[in-house]
């Protein structure tokens, strides 16, 4: 084993996908509005991202090639450029929201307006990427992000009727006055949150940063099988806490502070403090993930040297892209766009862009030229094909549903 916490890459990646600022609020909002009627989407999403990230991590370990490298190789420079532009746009929007999210977490702790925190947070994100080594970064933010588990404790302590909870989750039904299009809009948003392209950009590039080889395939599986289900669990916990405490009062969740109320009421000051630390670490981790992904995707498309495994001066263009992206995201964030709305849209766009990332990975994971004997098993391919259909349907339905429901209004 290379280090003590060998699965923190998977945990940090999953936190960035499942419980970044937009998802923290979206999960609670969905729980308060639909209770457990959308819990199945989280399960579908977890299985999908486990499948997807396992392939991406395996390809990276066996061939040393990260995801965007392969996208260009298999789709050619034109399609890959379209994917790059779309993915970069999603990354930038998400990064904007995450930097603001870190600031919102600090705002809740200090009652100082988040716009004052925002430049400080942006600088801190850049500084960590510039100075802290990759393994330290993923250990710190992966482990501290686990403070979010306090939400699961909240649900457990609240002592729900597990039987009826499971019944509501397995027999989803809608309240009167709720339309199906809005329901499916939220379903796609949750699915998009579980399976974001930036998660696999980050995860596979992280595997290269950590110098995984064929001998690390078990590390890959451990990361995937522990990290993503944990992310899904946090997502379900946020949903359940809101369903138990906020739904009976018909509260519409719009702010991070409302998300923290169930834990506050159940576990008191210690619970609240832990949760605020969790919010901070999770959004900070997601900011690192999206800022680095912006650099990874562009550098890999052009073949530039990237990564934190070399000195910054040896990956000059990569670090320039990361720095510029953080600056632009901070400027957009300061223009006081609603950061939570921004991630909700970026989730929908990441669902649209997903097939262009998923298909190349699925194909390369079957290419013996890269994989030798480590090509996909029949089971992976069967499941991979089912998800190919789900991903295509979600991608095609996303924009029409967003327009038809006025983004879930």
């Amino acid at each position: 084993m290379k280090k003590v916490f060998a699965v923190t890459l998977g945990i940090l990646t999953a936190i960035g996908g499942f419980v970044d600022i937009g998802d923290i609020v979206a999960n609670a909002a969905v729980g308060a509005r639909y209770k457990w009627a959308l819990a199945w989407v989280v399960v579908v999403g977890v299985i999908g991202i486990v499948l997807f990230a396992e392939m991406a991590g395996r390809v990276a370990a066996v061939s040393g090639r990260a995801v965007f490298d392969l996208i260009r190789e298999r789709l050619g420079p034109r399609f890959a450029l379209a994917n790059l532009i779309g993915s970069f746009f999603v990354n930038l929007m998400t990064l904007t929201a995450e930097i603001a999210g870190v600031a919102l977490a600090l705002e809740l702790a200090t009652d100082v307006n988040y716009l004052l925190w925002l430049p400080v947070c942006a600088f801190a994100v850049w500084l960590v990427i510039w100075r802290v080594k990759f393994e330290t970064m993923e250990d710190v933010f992966g482990i501290v992000g686990l403070a979010m588990i306090v939400v699961a404790v909240t649900v457990w302590r609240a002592g729900p009727d597990w039987g009826s909870m499971f019944h509501e989750a397995s027999h989803p039904s809608l309240n009167s006055g709720e339309g199906l299009p809005t329901y499916f809009y939220y379903a796609i948003a949750l699915f998009g949150a579980a399976m974001t392209p930036y998660e696999v950009f980050f995860f596979s590039s992280g595997a290269v940063e950590e110098h995984w080889t064929r001998a690390d395939l078990f590390v890959n599986r451990a990361n995937v099988y522990i990290g993503f289900p944990l992310g899904g669990l946090l997502s379900l916990a946020l949903m359940s806490a809101a369903a138990l405490t906020l739904a009976p009062l018909d509260i519409t969740v719009e702010h991070l502070g409302q998300v923290a109320l169930p834990t506050t009421l159940t576990l008191g000051k210690l619970g609240l403090a832990t949760l605020l630390i969790g919010f901070f670490a999770a959004t900070f981790g997601a900011a690192l993930e999206t800022a680095l992904s912006a650099g990874y995707t562009i550098a890999q498309y052009f073949g530039w040297q990237w990564g934190k495994f070399v000195r910054p001066r040896e990956a000059a263009r990569f670090h320039t892209v990361v720095l510029a992206t953080i600056v632009v995201a901070a400027i957009i964030g300061l223009s006081s766009v609603d950061p939570i709305k921004v991630t909700e849209y970026s989730l929908i766009f990441s669902a649209v862009a997903l097939p262009l990332t998923y298909i190349p990975i699925l194909v390369v994971a079957n290419d013996p030229g890269y994989m030798g004997t480590k090509v996909n098993s029949r089971f992976s391919n069967a499941l991979g094909s089912v998800y190919l259909v789900i991903i295509l349907v979600a991608a095609l339905a996303a924009i029409p549903l967003m327009l038809a429901t006025k983004a879930g209004a």
Binding site: I359, D367, P368, G369, V375, N376, G384, S385, L388
Partner: protein, 109 residues
């Protein structure tokens, strides 16, 4: 000339019949692998076929699964191989080959 100039060009046989588009250029590496590549990469011919997507994704030459994607991109036509000596001219967007396209060898999967 550049590889990208050859890719995608239409191939027609002596009787003017269309044989498909250039998917790839097959190169043979003659001689030892280790000691540099001193002019060892020779172009042996073109891989042509209908529908370019399968080629780009690597189907038909090693990659097999998953069958859904293979079934969609491969279609009914297997790519064929045009040995270089059968190319008689490259004219704009077209490549002329001698003889009939029916006797071209199919590329083994």
């Amino acid at each position: 000339m550049r590889l990208s100039e050859l890719l995608g060009k239409e191939v027609v046989d002596a009787s003017g019949e269309r044989a498909g588009h250039v998917h790839d250029v097959r190169i043979q590496q003659d001689g030892p692998v280790t000691s540099g590549f001193d002019a060892a990469l020779r172009v042996h011919g073109l891989i042509i076929g209908r529908g370019g997507l399968a080629n780009r994704l690597g189907y038909g030459r090693g990659t097999r699964g998953p069958w859904v994607i293979r079934a969609i991109v491969e279609g009914r036509h297997r790519p064929s191989f045009v040995p270089w000596h059968r190319i008689s001219a490259i004219e704009g967007e077209r490549i002329r080959i001698s003889g009939s396209h029916d006797d071209l060898e199919r590329v083994e999967p």
